[in-house]
Subunit: 271 residues, 2 copies
Amino acid sequence: MDKIKRNERLGALTKLLINTPNRIHTLNEFCALFGAAKSTVSEDIDLVSQSFARFDLGVIETVAGAAGGVRYRAIPSREKTRRVLDELAVRLSEPGRMLPGGFLYTSDITSESATAQAMGEILAARYYDRKPHFVLTMETKGIPIALMTARMLDVPLVIARRDSRAYEGSAVKINYVSGGERIETMALARRAVASGQRALIIDDFMKGGGTLQGMVDLMEEFSAEVVGVGVMIATARPERKRVDGANALLILEGFEPDTGRAIIHPAEEYL
Amino acid sequence: MDKIKRNERLGALTKLLINTPNRIHTLNEFCALFGAAKSTVSEDIDLVSQSFARFDLGVIETVAGAAGGVRYRAIPSREKTRRVLDELAVRLSEPGRMLPGGFLYTSDITSESATAQAMGEILAARYYDRKPHFVLTMETKGIPIALMTARMLDVPLVIARRDSRAYEGSAVKINYVSGGERIETMALARRAVASGQRALIIDDFMKGGGTLQGMVDLMEEFSAEVVGVGVMIATARPERKRVDGANALLILEGFEPDTGRAIIHPAEEYL
């Protein structure tokens, strides 16, 4: 194999790190791939790391110790987070998004991969230190955001269903209170979660918090520990939610009576 | 601003291209960001492009013309595609995946972000030239793969629902035949698709093809054109599917009677 110059290594190195967010790569892995010395690969990594820091593209960090190496985390700066949430609030307050019953039409935005990824980056950044083993969501609208959060954390996504389908095998079912009144069912394949695992719960929308509390109850059935609850949008009212300690990125205050536009803004901690 | 050296540009340039697959960036965009001449940025792009080609990391290509520039497409080589599908077939034939009724348990694999991304890369590569405006899937299990396919194509994802929910506004509903016998309902928000758009249909599993044909019928209601139908796994039987021209990545032949292991392999065109 020809000797590979630094200029030719940097693109590949960047791609390999970004492709697997939060996964630790050993220097040896890159030494073998590029036929380069450790000190050389180390300098390459410093260059990519500086480049990312300069342009607010996330963090390349070296992890010390026996299981050490280098990893990429898509941690957005405070300014970038604010910019992303502001832009989203503007889009969500476009006219025509108010639906009968005071609901907000968000399906076009929640299933955009770029938006889901941006949300996933912000949510993951908040929960790295809780070390979840998996992300849990309830079908359907939260799946893209939950998947991207799981991707950024390098953990599996687990999807609770409205009913237990034949192709999921034996399942645990619970009842929960949705929309303040209706009793609904949520099911999860028995093999999806192991006892003692740490769950991060992610969903797109929280009004009363009943669905999220249902997911908390479901995790209790599996003897799993809930280490965080994150949602894209929470309504300002009711102030008291069925679930405790959920973190929202955006707060929906209500709708302008004349225009029907949503009044929505980033949550206080992001202001 | 200090002058930014090539070594410091390459990491950022790579990240910005990969972050937005299939999106065309103008050279001017990078010239402004890096304070560099067009010829310099052009050389940078060539370096990243060579690095990607050498390590089978996808394609960085220059697009000529008035709307021209440079874009990243995650096109895996034939060898890489084969390797990904072989590994997946091995995992799917692990013991214990056969469920009552001859179903295959795949939820753990279909909702892994890395697997969904690998599937999305292979599926997108097949449909770039059909220029879909959006990817359509039916909730729930196909969503991660469909989302990643949409991400690679840089188009929105549209999710058909089992029922029309209050928070989606007015919807189009159709009936379709699932599992060869049952009549089921599929719904999609009226505002989700515009007349004349091109749809790429993606799902995780095809047995009879009824659900996929339902999505084709649904697109007819919206006067949208279906430019492709792609699935992760198709069963070998029934040979005749309700939907025409679907492309599968993997073929499920059946299950070993003694062990219950799935007999599954890459589709012929990938062998």
